[in-house]
Amino acid sequence: MPDLDAFRAEVRDWLDANCPEEMRQPMESEADIVWGGKKFNFTEPQKLWLDRMAAKGWTVPEWPVEYGGAGLSKPEAKVLREEMQRIKARTPLQSFGIWMLGPALLKYGTHEQKLEHLPPIARGEIRWAQGYSEPNAGSDLASLMTKCEDKGDHYLVNGQKVWTSYADRADWIFVLVRTDFDAPKHLGISFILVDMDQPGVSTRPIKLISGRSPFCETFFDDARAEKHNLVGELNRGWDVAKYLLTHEREMIGGMGSGAMRPMGDIAVQQIGLDESGRLADPMLRTDIARAEIDGLAFMATMERVADEAKAGQGTGANSSMLKYYGTEFNKRRLELMMDSAGSEALEWGADDDVARNWLRTKGNSIEGGTSEVQLNIIAKRILELPSA
């Protein structure tokens, strides 16, 4: 593939010339993630790196050029990722806009909606939050009750969302609302975009057991939404939501499998080896070895499922399998890391210490569809077991 080679050379040169030295250092904590948005405090190198990448369209390399992307093919995007990894370049921008709203808009949005919302996402100017769950609509998301009324030239939104990630730092929110209270529950839901910079929208952080507050409650009290910001058809928002949930599942399932330091290495450093050269805690050694093997098998599975999808094979419901296994595995991994760290992990330390991460993982198998919901989906959609 000569074209790819040329592209690789070009990417390599550009990255060498443009990636600031500071952006080639490993991130020290979650605080180093660049989320963007009006309220974000950039360091100088972060801003420089973001602006340069955004100008190339490389914060969202596969999006069309007119919407702020670079229109790269999958193989080209892979080359870009590989070259970034080669020099250990940090991701210039992460956001729910990129991961979730973007794909949904690309699929369901009008040309005008895409032009209005996608480029600011790509440039990191607008940070988005997700308004899905409600206090009485958790696993049973479709039973949501946030009301959206047609007021002629605009909509009025009233209700409450929970588990809105970083809503207190977001600028806009995409919200699932009920637009028809008489229809069957899946058929009265719409998907709408709401500017959070208005008196009708307020947020309250939820303090978690980890002591951190990555989530908020978000209240809509006569909040206004423009009519042109309804995505997809009225009352057919469930389709958009489902499409988006699949993306979210894959994202959460894939967490914890990234370039993590192997558990065995960490444990050796913490606990040491015994006279026979084995980890000094023999039972923990057993658990870690088995978990590392499962980790390898899981990573191979993520790879295989992705490759199958590219080849048009496999089943879409496998995203549920990845979400289920990935989050359960991540919980298990952090339990082992707590076992290994011993009493030193039992004191609160830095903002992303092991204990906080351990507690945080407990939510992985709840958010984005619980493990139980994923198992239901596997049973029904893949194994085709009957419903009661």
């Binding site: 958790g138 696993s139 939820i206 057991i209 076992d339 004191e347 609160w348 507690l359 407990k362 198998s365």
Partner: protein
């Protein structure tokens, strides 16, 4: 011995549940945390416990205690595990009383036991030096100096260290760092010159501290038990603490199970009470079974401590290992079955999973005890 509580123990259990549920529920721990309490426990509650005789549960009657034994001591710990009541009960009434009444000299007994029984003195056991429990690995040194000893070194993960009046410290008087021989136990007043104690900010919001000893001089009277022969009494004291922790974890696990079962009867999703979902039913039923096994092995360990303390090590080891597994399962299932609300600080389940993690690590986690069990069984 019959595996049911006798009438005295049952009465004690009812009394403890009544008192703790009313006077020291989880909200007390939450308040201590949120207020940034320096003591980390409620002194009024502690005084009431002393009033009821709990602080003297293992103190002989001759020294002002009620001497009810380990089953009774465990019953109290179990109820405290249900309410996560913060107090120096375990370090003082269980471990301190065990140390002094079983290994103390007459003078040591007379000096300390009445104070312990009256709730007037708090003790803490300073044993670990690294991130993982290992009582034979002692780096703190005690060198002979005049008629006494001079202690130097550092201990960590000392439960109740900063509120203790007296520390029970293991130090090396002979041998290399990991030798079983050459360890000696010392009674060190916390206010002795050269002792500095720093409280740690623990995930469970309970008391733990690091203790630094810098040229701390003690007399020969401060030795608990035999010079160089401290590991055996130390293990006995630790076993009392481990059994107490296992009992506490049993109480916490029961509470997690019951709270969760109640929630399953209430919460609706998909138009149904979620307790009707068979997958959750089976997991709850499995958890019930594990919690029952936990209750049994704890009772067995406590009964053995009462009947034949010198042969209790294996049962205590099994109990601590089993409850580490059971209580963690209970906490994990509780969070998962509660869903998002279980992840919030506002809800109590988080306090349980955090306390259980600390109790699991204290004096040896399940892996430590399973390994020790295998070594005791010679495999």
């Amino acid at each position: 011995m019959s595996m049911v509580l006798n009438d005295d123990a049952n009465m004690l259990k009812d009394a403890a549940r009544g008192f703790l549920g009313k006077s020291a529920p989880v909200s007390q721990l939450r308040k201590l945390r949120d207020d940034g309490s320096e003591d980390g426990f409620d002194r009024q509650t502690w005084a009431a416990m002393a009033e009821m005789g709990w602080t003297g549960v293992l103190v002989p009657e001759a020294h002002g205690g009620v001497d009810m034994g380990y089953v009774a001591a465990g019953v109290i710990a179990e109820e405290m595990g249900r309410t996560l009541t913060a107090s120096p009960y375990l370090s003082t009434a269980v471990m301190g009383a065990t140390a002094l009444s079983r290994f103390g000299s007459d003078a040591q007994k007379s000096e300390w036991l009445p104070k312990l029984a009256a709730g007037e003195a708090v003790t803490a056991v300073a044993v670990d030096e690294g991130r993982k429990h290992n009582p034979a690995r002692v780096g703190v040194t005690a060198e002979r100096s005049g008629n006494g000893f001079r202690l130097n070194g550092r201990k960590g993960f000392v439960a109740e260290g900063h509120v203790a009046d007296m520390l029970i410290v293991s130090a090396r008087t002979a041998g290399g760092e990991a030798d079983a021989e050459g360890i000696t136990l010392f009674l060190v007043p916390r206010n002795a010159a050269g002792v500095s104690v720093e409280r740690a900010d623990m995930v469970d919001s309970r008391n733990s501290a690091s203790v630094t000893l810098e040229n701390v001089d003690v007399t020969a009277d401060a030795v608990l038990g035999e010079v160089d022969g401290g590991l055996k009494p130390l293990e006995a004291v630790l076993d009392a603490g481990r059994a107490g922790l296992a009992a506490e974890m049993s109480g916490s696990a029961q509470q997690c199970l019951e709270t969760t079962a109640d929630y399953l009867k209430e919460r609706k999703q998909f138009g149904q009470i979620i307790g009707t979902f068979q997958a959750l039913q089976h997991r709850a039923a499995h958890l019930y079974s594990e919690v029952e096994l936990g209750k049994s092995i704890v009772l067995k360990a406590l009964q053995t401590l009462d009947a034949a303390p010198e042969h209790a090590a294996m049962m205590v080891c099994a109990a601590k290992a089993k409850l580490g597994q059971v209580a963690q399962l209970a906490a994990r299932e509780a969070i998962q079955m509660h869903g998002g609300i279980g992840m919030t600080d506002e809800f109590d389940i988080g306090f349980y999973i955090k306390r259980i993690r600390v109790a699991e690590a204290l004096y040896g986690d399940a892996n430590y005890h399973a390994d020790k069990f295998a070594r005791m069984r010679k495999y």
